[in-house]
């Protein structure tokens, strides 16, 4: 009897919790199908008339196709470069823990805490001629992902037996071939984790383009949505549709990569 009440209580609490998390998101979805007047008060009620046109209007006015392809380009490129650069460095740091390598490993992981100085970074961006360019955004997104990626990869590589390397050495692999053909495939699970996390972070990034892109044609979705909100604040139906389209890709990626995200977060905490 007592157990039953307790289980009912806990289950009820879990539902309240889930609904608290779900409601604001549901609000956006429902209102993205309303007319402007109906959406003005952003209620949870279903639309009296389903306005599918909101989406086509947003895709046109919000320059969604261009910002979507920008976001895709930035996130995909930053993820690939970030993984490649982090993996090879973490591999060397882990396999050859000389004094020098241990120092540089620590130096790089310190980046997890180090704040970005956006103001002076402008100088570096001007100096390297990549300010206001798509390349510049890719470089910055890649670089900010490095410290945490190196940290996660280093921990994982430590658990991959070195005997496998030795087999490769005996077979006469060059150092780079050893890394590419023997070690890299073994890292697949952690690379997936790091990849999914980096992709989502890059997709959600807002501050870097806010500082370093003033050409709206190069904006990623986050910045485009924010700008769109500034223009159409009164049209919550359009803003909602815009938000749905921006958020959908990350939710899809999340549902596809859920397994890796969770295992990645845990591997970060196990070491402590």
């Amino acid at each position: 009897m007592n157990k039953k009440v307790q289980s009912l209580l806990v289950n009820g609490l879990a539902w309240i919790l889930s609904l608290t998390m779900l409601t604001p998101l549901l609000l956006i979805v429902v209102n993205s199908f309303k007319t402007q007047t109906e959406a003005a008060s952003m209620k949870l009620s279903l639309p009296t008339r389903w306005v599918w046109d909101n989406y086509s209007v947003v895709i046109e006015k919000g320059k969604l196709i261009s910002s979507f392809s920008n976001s895709l380009l930035y996130s995909a490129a930053a993820t690939v470069f970030g993984i490649a650069l982090a993996a090879i460095a973490a591999y060397i740091f882990a396999r050859n823990p000389s004094k020098l390598n241990r120092f540089f490993y620590f130096f790089m992981v310190l980046g997890i805490a180090m704040p970005i100085n956006f103001v002076t970074l402008t100088k570096v961006m001007q100096f390297t001629h990549i300010i206001n360019t798509q390349l510049g955004i890719i470089v910055l997104l890649t670089v900010i992902s490095l410290p945490f990626s190196v940290f996660l990869l280093h921990g994982y590589i430590g658990s991959v037996p070195r005997e496998l390397d030795e087999a490769g050495i005996v077979d006469g692999c060059s150092p780079f071939r050893l890394f590419r053909t023997i070690v890299l495939p073994l890292l697949a699970p952690v690379l997936a984790t790091v990849g999914v996390l980096n992709f989502m972070n890059a997709w959600n990034e807002f501050v870097i383009p806010l500082y370093y892109l003033n050409d709206s044609g190069k904006w990623p979705m986050t910045l485009a949505v924010y700008n769109f909100f500034g223009q159409f604040q009164v049209s919550w139906n359009l803003v909602s549709a815009d938000i749905v389209l921006t958020t959908l890709p990350v939710i899809v990626i999340y549902l596809l990569g859920q397994k890796y995200i969770i295992s990645g977060m845990t591997s970060g905490s196990v070491k402590g």
């Binding site: 879990a14 180090m114 970005i116 100085n117 002076t120 430590g158 969770i262």
Partner: protein, 292 residues
Amino acid sequence: MLRNKTYPFYFTLATIALYTLFLVVPGVMGFYYSLTDWNSFSDEINFIGLDNFKTLFSSGEHYMSYVYNTLNFTVSTVVLKTALGLLFAIALNEGIKMKGFHRVMVFMPAIIPMLVVGLVFKSVLNPATGLLNETLRYVGLDFLAQKWLVDVNWAFKSIIAVDTWKGVGYIMIILLAGLQSISKSYYEAASIDGANLWHKFRYVTIPLLMPSLVVTTVLNLLYGLKVFEAVYVLTNGGPGYATDVVYTAIFKEFSMGRYGVGTALSTMLFVFMTIAGYFIIRLMTKGEDERS
């Protein structure tokens, strides 16, 4: 010798170089540029000593308020997210139907952009038409309805609440993993010794969960000190300067073209966080060093 041949240092050079050029160099450059009158109105950059810092400190209230706000935000969100994250993790650990579904729901806000969360809550917290006040009025709790993001007394608390709403799932997932790694036999042994629920929580769960708790606290702490988007989107520092944090203040100086002052502020944060980070990261990487 053989090791250096098989695992050559030069493989790491590109990674280290990029990281150094775009993250470390700007930080170090700050030490010089914070002592100059660098701004967007003139091409010349002159050395002016500690004037920028004087400006910051003598603007008294503003400066104090965003430093205070940043610390307040950090401590509040660390405490709230850890406490709630732990509670949710325990609740969704077992003995619940559809726990998979609930876990996904709680984690969902963690994956969507802060920008989107901010815009959604701008609508939810609207004093006149927002869902929160509407609901409160509907259930007859009118007196609880507030001007959430507009009232000086509530704006900052609202930002903290929204950020907790977004971030708690992330903490929950890490703690959940920690909970699942605790062997059941500890609880059984405690039961035999006559431990009640509280004892089990206090003497088994908490100590064994400590490594996970440390990690989540560190992540939250570093995130809190660097908070920008939550404030920028929800209130942009307003009303007045009531909700400004260090990073929004830096962005405002940057937008006004006062690069020197912005850099001074950035540099103080850089020094503070790098020193704190040094000890934290040393703690985090200690285990690994012993293994290799």
